[in-house]
Amino acid sequence: MKLDWKTIGIKDLASLICRKLNDNEIDAVLVGGACVSIYTKNKYLSYDLDFVSHTSVKDISIVLSDSGFRREGTRHFMHRDCPFYIEFVAPPLSIGSEPVRLRRKIKSRFGELVLLTPTDSVKDRLAAFYHWNDLQALEQAVLVAKAQKVSFREIKRWSDNEGHAEKYRIFRATFKK
């Protein structure tokens, strides 16, 4: 399949990376803003693809170099022709103080992508809002919640556990606007 690195979309690229890693028995889950892009059909467009993997970055580097991705810094990869930036965030896969137990799998023409569920994607964005008052992250959480079916009950439970019941109310109010 012909691949144009300059115009490849975020979902196709994430699927491609995920499949290449899986072909080499490397587990990787897409997290962060890229999940928001995928779940909202690019209403918010991220140029960062953040993955969490338990495999060493050194081993990942060997696999990604076959596709022309060069390691920059300790955990980042770039491709000469591709506008996206790939990072392997330090494990474990967690949101706040809780481990992530569920995964969503999405198929594209480039392979199968493993990513956070929409509910966990909302929690992931809310974590940034809760801890750093990042209003962009709040907007992204709302975008995902509007575009996908999410469990508000679970998000509320998690928010209470994280000690951010008050900010959860802000999220709900913003969602209802």
Binding site: T74, R75, A90, S94, I95, G96, E98, A127, H131
Partner: protein, 109 residues
């Protein structure tokens, strides 16, 4: 104190500093402990790379804090706080109880 566990004396100092002051910058830590700044920079980068701490630029200064999204933060802080109790008082006074409240610009003392 926790050096054997952490494998590095500088990391212990960084942890106590962040626990007591909330945030700090590499040169500030280096001055406090009278050690070369690169020792702190190296370990701060390592901790940031592992997701344990995060940093942000304020002007030209890179400020480090614990990463509130680190999943074991509560437990890690509890361990550091426990270890802190065993630090001799004179050492606490010298390194971990420095003035941090605001001082108006231009005030002589």
């Amino acid at each position: 104190m926790l050096e054997g566990l952490l494998g590095n004396p500088v990391i212990e100092k960084i942890f106590f500093t962040l626990l007591m002051y909330g945030e700090d910058y590499p040169l500030g830590m280096a001055k406090t402990f009278g050690e070369p700044v690169n020792r702190f920079q190296q370990q701060l980068r390592r901790l940031e790379d592992s997701g344990i701490i995060v940093s942000r630029l304020v002007g030209n200064v890179r400020l480090y804090t614990f990463n509130p999204r680190y999943p074991f933060l509560k437990e890690l802080k509890a361990l550091i706080a426990k270890a802190y109790e065993f630090i001799p008082d004179d050492e606490k006074d010298k390194y971990y109880k420095k003035r941090r409240r605001p001082r108006r610009a231009g005030k002589p003392l």
